[in-house]
C-alpha cells in the first residue's frame, strides 16, 4: 500500500491543471481514488465525517446484484443446453453463461465510462460512481444474445441523453439503465421481444417464450411451475429470472438502508392489488402474487424503482411513486398485449412524474407547516 501511495504522490502532480497530462486528470483521479481512499480532509463546517461515501453505496448495490447475476449466468447455460437437449455440468452451464455475460459487461463499461470520463474531464469533476451500477445493470436486463454493437449504442445513448446532458449523476430524471433497455426495445425490437431471443443460441424448434408471454397468449398450460419461476430456471433476461436471488439482494439493500423500503414495499403492494383485481374481474388468468413472480417485476421493484435520484425524493412521495409503478406495470401487462412486460415502461413513466409528485408533497408539507405555526401561536 505504501508503494501505491508513494507512486500516487510521485505522479499526481503531472495531472494537475496546466501540466501536459491534465487532459487525463479525470481518468487518473478515478483510478487513484478507486485504489486508495482520497486524502482530502474537511475544510470548515463539520470536521468529522461519516465513513460512507458514494463508492461504498454503489458497491453495496453491486454486491446485492451478485446473487441474481451469478444465478443468471448459470441459467443462461442451463437454458441453452436444455434447448439443445444436452446434459451439462454446473460449471459448463456457468462457464457458458459467464462467457455470454463478459463481453456484454465489457462493452457496456467501455462505452459508458468513456463518455463519463470525457464529461467529467470537460466539467472538471471527478468521475461519479453512478455508472458502475448502471453498467452492471444494463447487461442484466438484456437478452443473452443481444448484439454487442447494439449494447454499445444503447449504453452511449442512455449515458449521453439520459444523464450527461442534464448534468451527470444526481441530475438525471430517468433511470439510465432502463433508458438503455428502452432504446433497444424501440430501436431494435427484434432483439429484445418475441419468443426467440430469451434462450441463448437455442435450437430452432424450441420456443423460448417467457412465462409472461405464455400467459398473455393464453397458453398457460405450457407455463413452467411457479416454483421454477421463483427459483429462476426459466428463459428471460440475464438478471431477472431468479426471484429468490433478487429477494436476497433486496434483503441486503434493505438491511444496509441503501434502497428505500417504502418504494420496494409499495411497488409490490401496488402490483399485487392490481393483479388480484384483474384476476377477480376475469381479465387475467393469473392472480396477483403470481404476477409478482413473472417477468422483471421484482427486479424492477428492487433495483430499478429504488434508484434514489430518479425516484421521488420525499418520503410520502415514495409511497405514491411505488404504488403507481406497481399498478401501471400490471395494467400495461394485462391491457396491452403488445407489451407483455410493463415494468420498464411503468418505471420510466413514473420517473417522469416523480418531480410532480414531489412538488405536490412539498406543497402539502408547506401548508402543514403553516398550520403548525399558527397552532403554536394560539398556544403561546
Amino acid at each position: 500500500m505504501n508503494i501505491l501511495t508513494q507512486l500516487s504522490d510521485k505522479i499526481s502532480h503531472h495531472f494537475e491543471k496546466g501540466k501536459p497530462l491534465y487532459c487525463f486528470y479525470a481518468l487518473y483521479d478515478a483510478i487513484d481514488t478507486f485504489l486508495l481512499t482520497p486524502s482530502e480532509v474537511t475544510s470548515g463546517g463539520s470536521h468529522i465525517r461519516d465513513a460512507v461515501d458514494m463508492k461504498r453505496i454503489m458497491i453495496t448495490v453491486m454486491i446485492a446484484l451478485c446473487p441474481a447475476l451469478f444465478f443468471g449466468m448459470w441459467n443462461i447455460g442451463v437454458q441453452h443446453f436444455l434447448s439443445l437437449g444436452e446434459n451439462a455440468t454446473f460449471w459448463r452451464c456457468f462457464g457458458y453463461g459467464f462467457l455470454k455475460w463478459l463481453p456484454l459487461v465489457m462493452v457496456t463499461y467501455f462505452s459508458g465510462l468513456t463518455i463519463e470520463v470525457i464529461f467529467a474531464q470537460h466539467r472538471g469533476h471527478q468521475v461519479a460512481e453512478g455508472f458502475f451500477v448502471t453498467g452492471f445493470l444494463i447487461p442484466m436486463i438484456m437478452p443473452p444474445d443481444v448484439p454487442l454493437w447494439i449494447v454499445a449504442i444503447a449504453t452511449a445513448f442512455s449515458v449521453l441523453f439520459a444523464k450527461e446532458v442534464f448534468g451527470g449523476t444526481g441530475y438525471n430524471f430517468l433511470n439510465p439503465a432502463l433508458i438503455a433497455r428502452a432504446f433497444v426495445f424501440f430501436a431494435y425490437p427484434s432483439v429484445i421481444s418475441g419468443d426467440a431471443v430469451w434462450i441463448s443460441e437455442s435450437a430452432d424448434a424450441v420456443s423460448g417464450a417467457t412465462p409472461l408471454a405464455l400467459v398473455m397468449n393464453d397458453a398457460t398450460a405450457q407455463m413452467p411451475s411457479f416454483l421454477d419461476m421463483f427459483i429462476g430456471t426459466i428463459p428471460g433476461c440475464i438478471g431477472e429470472t431468479s426471484k429468490i436471488c433478487i429477494i436476497i439482494g433486496a434483503i441486503l439493500l434493505l438491511y444496509t438502508q441503501v434502497a428505500s423500503w417504502r418504494i420496494m414495499l409499495s411497488v409490490v403492494v401496488g402490483g399485487w392489488i392490481t393483479g388480484t383485481l384483474f384476476h377477480a374481474a376475469g381479465m387475467c388468468p393469473i392472480t396477483g402474487w403470481q404476477h409478482l413472480l413473472m417477468g422483471g417485476f421484482l427486479f424492477g421493484a428492487v433495483f430499478m424503482a429504488t434508484d434514489p435520484v430518479t425516484a421521488t425524493h420525499t418520503q410520502a412521495g415514495k409511497w405514491i411513486y411505488g404504488l403507481l409503478i406497481g399498478i401501471l406495470a400490471i395494467v400495461i401487462r394485462v391491457i396491452n398485449k403488445g407489451y407483455p412486460e410493463g415494468m420498464m415502461l411503468a418505471i420510466l413513466l413514473m420517473n417522469i412524474f416523480a418531480p410532480l409528485i414531489d412538488y405536490c408533497i412539498v406543497k402539502i408539507k408547506i401548508r402543514k407547516r403553516k398550520i403548525n405555526i399558527s397552532k403554536h401561536k394560539i398556544l403561546l
Binding site: 461519516d50 461515501d53 471527478q126 412539498v362 408547506i366 407547516r369
Partner: protein, 448 residues
Amino acid sequence: MDFHIRKGVDIRLAGTAKEEIQNFASSRFLICPTDFRWLKPRLLIAPGSSVNVGTPLFCSKEDERIVIVSPVQGEVMEVIRGNHRAIEAIVIQADSSPITFANVSFPEPTNSSEIAELLISNGLWPFLRQRPFATIPTPDTRPKALFVSCFDSAPLAPNFGILLKGKEEYFHEGIRRLHQLVGKDCPVHLCLPKGRSNQLFESVEEVKLHYFDGPHPAGNVGTQIHRIAPIDKGETIWFIHPQDVATIGRFFLTHELSFEKRIALTGPCAENPCYYTFPYGTDLSALLNCETTNAQVRKISGNVLTGNQLTKYNTLRFYDTQLTLLPEGGERKLLGWLLPNFKKWSLSHTFLSWLFQHHIFAHNTSLQGGRRNFVMTDVYEKVFPFEILPLQLMKACLTEDIEQMEELGIYEVDDEDFALCEVVCPSKMECQKIIREGLYKIKMENQA
C-alpha cells in the same frame, strides 16, 4: 413540558474534559470581528491607544450602538487587516498580570430600555443573539420569546454545571434582568436535559421550563425553538448561552464588568482535557503549544460539528465554550470503500460499525470520500429532527429560490442545525455552508 427528540445521533469521541477547573492567563489578547456573523466593523480605537475593560473597540456599521468592548486593560498593539483591508484581529497587550474586570457604577435600572442601555454601553449586548440568522439583535426590537438552552448535546460538550459553578447567583440575577429586558409578555424558555440534575436551573423563577431528551441535536437551541415556538416570517427569537446570562447577572448584581468565561478543553489530542477560565479574546498559543506536541492536530474553536478551525489566531470565538483538538486525517487506505470496516465510524448500515454506536471511534478530519452531487435522499431525515424537508431546503438555497426557502422554513434553521446532515452526507456536501449562504441571501433580500 417534555420533548423527546428521536432523530439525531450522539457521536462519541475520546477526550471528555475532566471536572477540574484550571486558570490560564496570557498578556496577549486577540479580538476578531469575524466572530460576529455578518457584522461589518467600524474601528473605534487606533493602534497605540490604551484601553480598559469595557472600552469599545469597534461597532457595527449597521447600528453603531452595538459595540464590542475590550475584555482587558492594556494597550492596542496592532490592528491586523486581511483582504480588502477587512479587520481580522485587534491585538491588545495587557500587563503581565492582566486586569480583567472593571467596576461600573450605575443607578438601578427600572425598565426595559434602561437595562438595554446598560447592556449596550457596557458591551454586554452582543451576548444576545437572534434567530433567524444568529446575529446580534437590534437594540430597539424585542423578541417573541427568549431561549436559554441549559445543556449542550454536541460531541464532548462541556458540562454546564461546571461552567456555572460558583455563578449560580449571577445566573439567577441574569435571568431576572433579561426577563425585565424582554418584557413581561415575552416568555423566557429554559430548556433542560431530562434525567439529569437541573437544580440550578429549576430554581429560577418566572420562566418556562422544558425538558428534552434524546440524541444530539436535542441541546441545540434551534431544535428547541422548533418544538416550542416555531419562527414565522417577520418574527424573531432571542437566545443566549447560560454562562453569558451569568456574566450579565454578575454585572447587575456586583457592578463588576468581566468577560471571563469558563471553557472546556477537549478532544482526542488534548493531553490534559479539563476546564479553564480566562477572559474572552485570550491568546491561547501557549496553552495549545503545551497541549499539542504533534503538528498533525486540528485546533477547533467550538465542537467538531460546528466549530471553526484555528489557523492564524489562536483564540476562542466569542460565543464558544469549547476547544477541541482533533487529529488530522488524510491517510490513504487501499480499497477503503470495499472492505468491511469495524474501525471507521458510520451511521450507514453499509459498515458493520453502525452496530457499535456506543464505542468511541478514532475520529479524524478525513473527508472519507469524494464530493458528489445529491444522490441519496433518505439520509438527512434520520438526523434532522425538524418538520422541515432538509434536502428540498438545501436545493432551494442552492438555486436561490427565496420564496421556496421561506415557505420551507429557512427562518427556523441555522447552519448548526444542518451539522449532522453534513456529517452523514454520502455525497460529502457542505450542508452548513449551503444553509448559511441561503440565510445570507434571504437577509440581503429582506434588507433591500
